[in-house]
Amino acid sequence: MQLFVDGIFLGSIYALFAIGFTLVFGILDRLNLAHAAVFSAGALVGIEVVTRWGLSIWLAIPIVFALGALLGVLIERIAFRPLAGRHDAHFAGLISSIAFGAIILSVLQALYGADTRRFPADAFPSTRLEFLGATFSLLQLMILVISVGLMVVLTWVVAKSKLGRGMRTIAENPHAAAVLGLNVGRISSMTFAISSALGAVAGVLFTLNVNAANLGIGHAVELKALAVIILGGLGSLPGALIGGLILGLAEVYAVNTVGSSWRDMVAFGLLFLVLIIRPQGIFGARKVREV
């Protein structure tokens, strides 16, 4: 039971990162590799706000959220929008987002150095809870609740709201969307802002959970998040949550049976298998290409 609970909580962290990631990747069809840098930025700035400014974590999270949103707008404006309409927009967006991510990381390095940093021990109440014989922290429970909540809210936003309809229209055909009077630039910016804001907050929660953050933490989670997105189905928010939970459980059980040195094989093995057997993922719909 403890294993199962650990797996669920590990999975909910993956899901937290993946939900923001898939919003841009799955719906706008752009792979934003600067997302990992935003994750690191959220973690490091969160620590700064709590330690240096002495603010409570409950204030730090909205600040980080706003910072993430701002970074998202910058990423969209600088790394993606100038490429619109170019035949190699996919490749080029990949590279330009890598470049932009490197710039974000270098700024973080200038501000906070390359060392590992931590939240103060009392930043978050260290309450332990017990459920059916398994113990876990209040923080872990909060991460799970936030992940599920985000998934529900965002699914609604994408499916029902005006913004969500705009996002889906742009993904289908940006030209047609512009002709229909949609402000393509603003909707893209909004999507990147939401995605990055979630990524930054995920960075804070992740760091609270493992209690260590450095420049590279984003990259470690990024690959796992890719696996989660593909596993759950590209563009599917419930898929990102379920995919995260499946991966978390699979990893915990794998570590328990074959040892921690093979742990990452689970993520990539699953990713590889899903791509070969069911490329649209568990919840994704297969897109039919028109001739």
Binding site: L83, A92, A99, F268, F272
Partner: protein, 586 residues
């Protein structure tokens, strides 16, 4: 001097890694497996590289390189079998997963010494690295003007169009994958024997991204790209160190900024800065250069016969129970309102869409679920598309050269050793392509990129590309769309002359006036079924045809067609009456 020699060696090795990405990028594939393949090659080579020259004269490094490249090729092939079905970003992620799986596997093996890393003998210096780079660059230089190089470019631009030119797309995609594997294997072995120490964690996702970035920054449209990318990205940190601006964070900041600038403002990468002729080939208008082409089958040979052919999507019957035959020298028209199933029918005939009912034979090939478009194309079918599918970034002439794929020979091996026959074959292919380009009136636009041509010119270019394959059966899907009356008339003349040469022509067109004047026979489709078939006169008089067009509410093209039909029918009746009365028919 010593530090420069290691920098120069490093530049050469990075360029080789970039070439392994270049190998797949030129075919439009994004694979991130190369670093994993390099890692496999490097570590397995440690098992076979001897301490002493084999038989006293074969250098140990050569054995390692040959072995490593073989490992790269085999591993790329085995990986390619399952992942080749994937495209774009899915392919990138699957190959990335493969690379990480290799890394984790090697870390957990005792013979690789795991994460502690393995020592290698120092066998690679500056000369070896640059000789290897020169050989790799030479290969890609000679590839670029060969038929294989053109096939890669065509696949990158438009896979479907490439297939209908007779290019076996899966085979070529696999070829690009395997070439990348060989180059990656070479890189892995050289890298390990240069740094003298390697652990599997060095061949990580970040390393793969670095390789990709080097290739893209250098540019993937010209074979010097990877070298330029490597020089740029390898010397940048050195330069900053020399200038004294290497405080921890400044270096990555400047690298990131420069990378961003290159990507945003130099779409062709650094190689795009090198002035070059826009087209790799020149127009060859010398008729003596034209090769002897195989004669077409005798006039009247049946090349297509459909028996009850149908296609349904879910429960929707797009095409239902169509019987149709076509012989060489004949022009068969296919008309009907929008959504009548004309394009679906043509897609089945050309192997693009698999039929779900009935049977059909085209050029001796049975239409079945497994019939692939490139096989039909090789048999002698060529087509144009309703929605233009050109290779937009290639010049007009290069587009037509790809069209000539079926009747030209692969010249890569000959080009590698500069055989004179390579030149001759390339000149023949260029002559065929030039002749077709001139035939459709685009001779003066040979070097213009296809994407920059006007709409009408693009339509004509598609026809020239189809003709360049010397087809027995030519399929034209709305070739006159967007053309004015004069242009459409010129097109009709061209089609008539093709039929006179013995080509079988299947044509879809909304311009009913043109179709009635041009076709020998016309078949009318509505809601996926044949509602009328016969000579143009019979069609023009058939009330069901008029009704089908008039019934298509809100379809402007159908309304025009209905008007034209009515006019032509009236003309025909009048002509008949007039002919009966006086000599003056009109």
């Amino acid at each position: 001097m010593f530090e420069y020699s290691s920098l120069l060696t490093f530049i050469a090795l990075t360029a080789i890694l970039a070439f392994s990405f270049y190998a797949v990028l030129i075919a439009g594939q994004l694979s991130l497996a190369q670093v994993g393949l390099a890692s496999l090659a490097a570590f397995t080579s440690s098992l076979v590289v001897p301490n002493e020259p084999l038989f006293g004269f074969i250098p140990p490094l050569l054995i390692g390189v040959v072995f490593g490249m073989a490992v790269g090729v085999i591993a790329a092939f085995v990986l390619g079998l399952p992942v080749m079905r994937l495209r774009g970003v899915f392919l990138a992620i699957a190959t990335l997963a493969f690379g990480e799986m290799v890394r984790i596997f090697l870390i957990n093996q005792s013979w690789t010494n795991g994460a502690q890393g393995l020592s290698f003998p120092k066998l690679v210096g500056i000369e070896t690295a640059w000789i290897a780079l020169a050989l790799v660059a030479f290969w890609f230089w000679r590839l670029s003007g060969s038929r294989m190089g053109r096939a890669f470019a065509a696949i990158r631009e438009d896979e479907l169009a490439a297939t209908t030119m007779g290019i076996d797309v899966p085979r070529y995609r696999m070829a690009s994958f395997v070439i990348a594997g060989a180059v990656a294997g070479l890189y892995g072995v050289l890298f390990a024997h240069f740094t003298r120490f390697a652990d599997p964690n060095q061949f990580s996702f970040e390393a793969a991204v670095d390789g990709l970035v080097t290739a893209v920054v250098g540019g993937t449209t010209f074979f010097v790209g990877p070298l330029l990318g490597s020089v740029f990205l390898s010397t940048l940190p050195e330069l900053q160190r020399t200038l004294g601006i290497d405080a921890g964070w400044i270096r990555p900041a400047i690298s990131g900024l420069l990378l961003l600038v290159v990507i945003l403002f130099l779409p062709g990468g650094l190689a795009g800065l090198i002035p070059r002729r826009r087209s790799s080939t020149k127009l060859v208008s010398d008729p003596a250069a034209l090769p002897q082409l195989e004669p077409l089958p005798a006039r009247g040979t049946e090349v297509m016969s459909l028996r009850g052919l149908g296609k349904s999507y879910g429960g929707v019957r797009a095409v239902h129970d169509v019987d149709l035959t076509l012989a060489t020298g004949e022009i068969l028209g296919l008309i009907g309102p929008n959504g009548a199933g004309k394009t679906t029918l043509v897609n089945m005939v050309t192997g693009v869409t698999a039929p779900t009912g009935g049977s059909g034979t085209v050029l001796g090939i049975e239409l079945a679920a497994k019939t692939r478009a490139h096989r039909l194309a090789s048999a002698g079918i060529a087509r144009t598309f309703q929605q233009i599918k050109l290779f937009n970034r290639l010049s007009a002439l290069d587009n037509v050269l790809v069209g000539g794929y079926r009747i030209s020979r692969d010249t890569l091996l000959r080009r590698l050793v500069f055989l004179p026959s390579a030149r001759r074959f390339e000149r023949q292919a260029a002559a065929v392509a030039s002749a077709q380009l001139i035939r459709v009136g685009l001779g003066d636009k040979a070097t213009t990129a296809a994407g920059d041509l006007s709409y009408g010119d693009q339509r004509r270019l598609e026809i020239a590309r189809a003709l360049a394959s010397h087809p027995t059966l030519l399929v034209l899907d709305e070739p006159a769309a967007g053309m004015n009356h004069v242009e459409a008339e010129r097109l009709s003349e061209l089609i008539r002359s093709l039929a006179a040469d013995g080509v079988a022509v299947l044509i879809i067109e909304h311009n009913v006036r043109m179709m009635l004047a041009l076709c020998d026979r016309i078949t009318v489709l509505n809601f996926g079924e044949v509602i009328a078939a016969g000579t143009p006169e019979e069609i023009a008089r058939d009330p069901r045809v008029l009704e089908a067009y008039l019934g298509a509410d809100g379809d402007a093209a159908a309304a025009t067609a209905a008007e034209e039909l009515a006019e032509v029918a009236a003309d025909a009746v009048k002509g008949h009456d007039d002919a009966a009365g006086t000599e003056d028919a009109r």
